[in-house]
Symmetry: C2
Subunit: 835 residues, 2 copies
């Protein structure tokens, strides 16, 4: 007896006000303010006719009802026919022409594109949301809701949109055990303990988010693939996920391993040219497509970082790619072959060795050898998602191969969602970079989308790695990167500012101060992050063989992983020139290579990525390299300190929960920026022997090192790397309770005490700070950071302000270790109170 829209039931529950958890991301559909509402209410019809009952069309209809109810407080009337009074009409072009031939809709649309069109017929007004396919209709519904959310007029629409590229995918590096490689938003939404999750509600929610951006496929397991994902008895699990995504037009893809015919298939080989291997892949693909007819395809990482590959049989990447691709082709599946192939056991002593060369070296000769449903998936830069890299030369090399740019949404090298970094400006710099592949005017975006060389496929792949955390990515502000990826994949000509402002309005509301402040912070954040972690193309100076998080300047050196910056006493940088270096620059087309080859024209931002220079080398700005390193780190740290002040200006304008969560994150980031600043500046200060012209590096007024205090129980230890701790040393407690103290000998006044301590993930030490025998602060070291050691990742800061100091006061810190954590302390800094 209940009609079929019973399925909408759940959507109605959220009528009341609720805490903003971030779980709705930019799809909150919060009530608009009265001014905006009036305009839209007048323009918007009251009825909604959906001319299809496919699951995707149902999603479009449900989303429109939900969004308009949320933003405008109105429930659209669902009509089964197109009413005479006018209304919103939702359907494919074919569907509308059949059901409502009186609506004049002369247009041809491409797949996934949409058309929002206001029509006036016999005095009635229709708002038509139409497309070639149901997925396009869904994208059109989201587009209309976005317009309403952004306060744009919907009175007289004629908006026809076609996606810039056919490939708009995300990859998730989720392991079947539920962990996520380089995931910072909690455990997998797909997997737990080797199986698919019982509750796939978050998968459906994720599908909705992806659909709102026009993203049509998602690879649901790590590219370092567990072969079990292709086992026949595992298939029903994948089917369930495909079912959860399907109503949102999101197709499932799988990461596979080239060795699977052997490990899962039971063959004694995985040689791509062996007919048994060919047959196995074909049979496996047929089996998969019987269960999941809309499977999007496969992703493969081969011959890289320990994965098996065609080299085992002396075959080429093209051999490997084509055998799989031919199994997928009859079903319309795509095969993404990752360009991220390099040798991680290179001899670092050979100055001609260069990891940056690897992709081009590996794939240049294979151009033209790949089938038409193979897509080469190429990271934006030649190394690995570093803070600053040139575009990968391979984009400009390939002419007869489909390609896709792989952008990393998850912030592996960008503070792992503990630091604010909006990646869209960086992505745009790559996408807009002119590779001169067919003369001037062939930016990366045109190459990867297939426009330049008229390739049948290509586009954008984002490594998203969302997780079960309520806000998906571990940080409310990091959601902007997922949003920005999707928007760029749809239209890379959008400006970073437009994307930042769109996202802020939809996510935090349209208060102009909120929009200006948050968008401003986002837009500045990449440069700021670069400034305090490694500018001039140094790459992120992090623990490169470990967690990729904390500062560790030398971690990349003297090992086979090839992320060398070759800083020593004399200078810094990788000589990648054609003339004297590794020749990497020669992989670019000549007009690009010419700019990079000469120090006269090489941009400052990439100077030490491409050249080895002395510290005294003068940049185009007129500054020496060493002074630039000092200055940028101080500027970066200062800018991060400002984030919290900027955010505080939004109190009361942003909901309390997200206000507090973001503020805590920004305060933490401020402490990390200090560690980075001091570590990098001191490292280069020691290496170069050149003093900071502004006298800051090595001088820390008010700072008292732990090792200089009077210690009871605490013992001095060497920190590795040395630059991660002030003075290279910390004090650690091996007893149940230790005390460190010193006597204050400055002027009387109001002060803040900054305690620099270490908060590892293997214990919850407690600290108490006493001033003149009075308890001034106490806290526990319970943060989640990716280290069990006293190092740059665990370095943390506690500020206790509003303390009246008098000469002779004893300042005493008491540490109570816990588990593997030694209540380690670096220093206490006495600073004039900022109030």
């Amino acid at each position: 007896m209940l009609p079929r829209i019973h399925a909408l039931l759940g959507l109605l529950a959220a009528a009341g006000l609720q805490a903003e958890t971030g779980n709705q991301a930019w799809l909150r559909y919060a009530a608009l303010d009265d001014g905006a509402t009036r305009q839209v209410r007048e323009a918007l019809p009251a009825t909604l006719t959906a001319l299809s009952d496919s699951p995707v069309a149902e999603s479009a209809r449900g989303e429109l009802i939900r969004g308009i109810r949320g933003m405008l407080g109105r429930t659209l009337r669902v009509e089964s026919r197109v009413p005479r009074e006018g209304g919103i009409v939702l359907g494919t072009l074919a569907g509308i022409r059949k059901a409502a031939p009186h609506l004049p809709l002369a247009a041809n649309l491409e797949a996934d594109g949409y058309w929002l069109k206001t029509l006036r017929v016999d005095g009635a007004r229709y708002l038509v949301i139409t497309a070639e396919n149901d997925r396009g209709v869904l994208y059109g519904a989201f587009a209309l809701l976005r317009k309403i959310g952004l306060g744009e007029s919907v009175a007289d629409l004629d908006d026809r949109q076609t996606p810039y590229a056919p490939v708009r995918w995300v990859n998730q590096w989720d392991n079947l055990d539920g962990s996520i490689e380089r995931g910072y938003g909690g455990r997998s939404i797909f997997w737990d303990n080797g199986n698919v999750r019982e509750d796939l509600g978050r998968v459906s929610d994720y599908g909705r988010m992806l659909a709102s951006l026009g993203i049509g496929a998602c690879a649901i397991n790590n590219v370092n693939a567990n072969p079990r994902v292709l086992a026949s008895d595992f298939l029903p699990q994948v089917v369930r996920i495909a079912g959860a995504f399907r109503p949102w037009g999101v197709r499932v893809a799988l990461s596979v391993d080239l060795g699977i015919p052997k490990t899962v298939g039971g063959l004694d080989t995985f040689d791509p040219l062996d007919p048994r291997v060919t047959a196995w892949w074909k049979s496996k693909a047929d089996e998969l497509y019987r269960a999941i007819p809309d499977l999007a395809g496969f992703v493969l990482k081969a011959d890289s970082e320990g994965r098996v590959g065609p080299s085992a049989y002396g075959r080429t990447h093209a051999d490997a790619a084509n055998v799989v691709a031919r199994a997928l082709a009859p079903h319309g599946g795509l095969f993404f072959y990752r360009g991220f192939v390099y040798d991680h056991r290179m001899d670092w002593r050979n100055p001609k060795n260069d990891r940056a060369r690897a992709a081009d070296d590996n794939f240049r000769a294979l151009d033209g050898k790949f089938d038409d449903n193979v897509v080469l998936q190429i990271k934006n830069g030649p190394i690995d998602f570093q803070a600053r890299e040139p575009a990968s030369p391979l984009f400009g090399t390939l002419e007869k191969t489909n390609q896709a740019v792989e952008l990393q949404i998850t912030q592996e090298y960008f503070g792992q969602a503990r630091h604010l970094v909006f990646l869209v400006p960086m992505w745009k710099e790559t996408l807009d970079f002119d590779m001169h592949a067919r003369g001037a005017g062939t930016p990366v975006k045109a190459l990867v989308s297939g426009k330049t060389f008229r390739r049948p496929s290509g586009g954008f792949v984002g490594v998203a790695n969302v997780g079960l955390d309520e806000n998906w990515l571990g940080n409310h502000l990091s959601q902007a990167n997922l949003y920005g990826f999707g928007r760029l994949a749809w239209d890379p000509n959008l400006s970073a500012r437009q994307i930042a402002e769109e996202w802020t309005r939809l996510t935090f509301g349209d208060d102009p101060k909120v929009v200006a402040t948050i968008a401003g912070m986002q837009l500045a954040s990449w440069r700021i992050f670069e400034n305090y972690t490694g500018p001039l193309g140094l790459q992120t100076l992090t623990d490169i063989v470990g967690n990729h998080y904390g500062v560790s300047v030398e971690a990349s050196e003297r090992n086979g992983w090839g992320q060398w910056h070759r800083a020593d006493e004399r200078g810094v940088g990788m000589d990648r020139t054609i003339a004297t270096g590794t020749g990497f620059i020669g992989q670019f087309r000549p007009p690009v290579a010419a700019v990079y080859e000469s120090l006269k024209t090489c941009p400052d931002d990439l100077v030490v990525f491409l050249h080895h220079v002395p510290y005294t080398h003068l940049l185009h700005s007129g500054k020496t390299v060493i002074q630039y390193i000092y200055d940028s780190h101080y500027e970066g740290e200062q800018a991060v300190a400002e984030y919290a002040r900027q955010w505080e200006s939004l109190k009361g304008r942003v909901d309390d929960r997200r206000y507090q969560e973001v503020l805590a994150q920004l305060e933490y980031q401020g402490g990390q920026a200090q560690v980075w600043r001091d570590a990098v500046a001191r490292w280069f200060h020691r290496a170069s022997g050149i003093p900071d012209a502004k006298g800051r590096v090595g001088r820390y007024p008010g700072r008292v090192e732990g090792e200089a205090m009077k210690l009871e129980g605490y013992a001095v230890s060497e920190v590795k790397p040395w630059e991660a701790a002030s003075g290279g040393k910390a004090i650690e407690c091996a007893a149940a309770r230790c005390v460190a103290s010193f006597s204050y000998d400055g002027a009387p006044g109001w002060y803040a005490l900054q305690v620099r301590y270490f908060d590892q993930n293997n214990g919850a030490s407690r600290f108490r700070l006493w001033v003149a025998n009075q308890l001034a602060g106490e806290w526990a070291a319970t943060d989640r950071v990716p280290t069990r050691k006293v190092d740059g990742s665990s370095s943390a800061r506690r500020t206790v302000s509003g303390i009246a100091l008098r000469p002779g006061d004893e300042i005493r810190i008491e540490g109570l270790p816990d588990g593997g954590e030694t209540a380690a302390i670096d220093y206490i800094e006495v600073r004039p109170d900022r109030n």
Copy 2:
């Protein structure tokens, strides 16, 4: 090794931002904005010397540190001596004179009073907080913090305060099982399951709140006392509570039962004149004081509402009071004898019977017969905490007896913390009312404080009934009543506006719009409540023999409880005149009685409390009584609807959590005000037969009664009282699922549907509302209201707005009963959408 201020440890935990739960009430010490901060920071010394280490003095010191840290972000330096650089000095006059004789402090202060005094000595500035006793010092510390919180200057203080009256107590009607009689803020903070609670943290917090208001004692069990509270083996439990209160200067008092010598003591009598009874009370008091030397005293309810009393032996109330008081006297304890003595089995047919007379009738002859440590505890009005009563005449009668006014903080007859009612304006009307007890100029406040007749004791008793709910009283805005009681008890000359603004600033911050809006709502709320529940002295027209919550106009009639309003076809009101009525007016002194006796001078607000008048009687305003009843209910309902709109204007200015909780409460209250309006207006309309001049009563455009719908499963039932349901009827569902529907026949357009249903406390029915086969709303009836029946208390409202209706649309409500709840529905009202 840890210094003794270790006890402050817990206070430091709350450094970060937290959700506003209301648990800190007006003592949040939220950070002040920068402007206010600068002024205070400059004026406030950096050090704090406390010249006593009593627990109360420690509380004062800790509170100052906590408050200044919270509001100003500074930690006062605790010094053991008075420093030469100046500082805050905290101590009794005697203590300071001894430890710091150089500070000139010539003053005499009364117990519990305090003096905040800025002194300049040898160029140093001291801020002295001093008092006669430690409790006064604590009150001074709270006063300084309040000044800071209110943004007042603390630069040059000379503020000497003496409490208006010696008695400033609260009573809690907590039962030993953990329930609270007339408590609306959760279960008892003291008791659970017959014993004291394990965790008395909330008792300590409550002590702090009371101390901040200068309240010095708390009776911790129901006046309908469980005799076990005086059993010897129970004493250790009381001792624990006294210990939790003691650091805040709050002394414990106990409610006792006059029969205890028999029930607990094992005597065969409790005759107050029996020497064994005398001896028993003395021995019991001595035992108690050995365990609790600062026990404040006892409270007794006798010969009332089923409690035993001296009448059992033909003794007087004075006999009963004095035997107990004499046992307490050697220890300094007070004995509160409640004046709330009346016969609840009166013959309602006798027009001369009058419950309002009872207190005066019972105690007039005993004036002068009570010992000096007996205090007669008299409710503000002669009946029982009704929305409008005159002052109790007994206040003006007694000349030789200590008295205290009993004010009810818990909102028994004022919407039970589901309705916003700020009681301070009402209390002030009583306290300021001139009783002419010794000529003009003897207001109630002067009488109860003992000033008029120079009594040794007397003052203010508030029935608080806070509970374990995070916000103590069940409603954030109700906290203002506890605050207001305390402030009035300290100084009844404070204006209601000052109290409302103080409370709002301290509780919600000093945004001028927030202060103006909330204080404005509070100040208007008593009159508004009176308007929709029973004006002109009708009293609250509630279920008087039941829950005292929902509307039930006739519940007070034709029974022995004596709260009659005697409304019938001819007129309304109790004739309490001397000339023709019960003579109640004659209990007042002649100047007061003369004003009340004549309809010419009797205030409109009390007209039907004191007179029986025809409905056509013309009020001073020129309106008839019946039209006033109609108009006031419509005005009251309209004003409550406005509350939510006013509150919505504070979005973003009030923290999200309290914003949402209060908004939900105000929306609920809006629904209840509708029921009250319709019920009372319709009842008097039927009784009087006189139409509403404005044509509203009995005409409800857009309303479709449940009984007029097409019913599937639902059956029509009579509601009791009839006026609680529109049309006197509801529809109830005896099946698992029932449906009621009707066809909409109005104009097309946007509408809101108001569904009036019944939400009892014995089930959680579900409802679904469909419009033209589309789900428009669903909800569950899960509110906590004090009824298991379909009546005025359970009548609830759900508004579903933004619905596009077209003629012929079917509007259908589906009910799914649960437990004892029948998914009952009163009506659906179709209203034009307010947007």
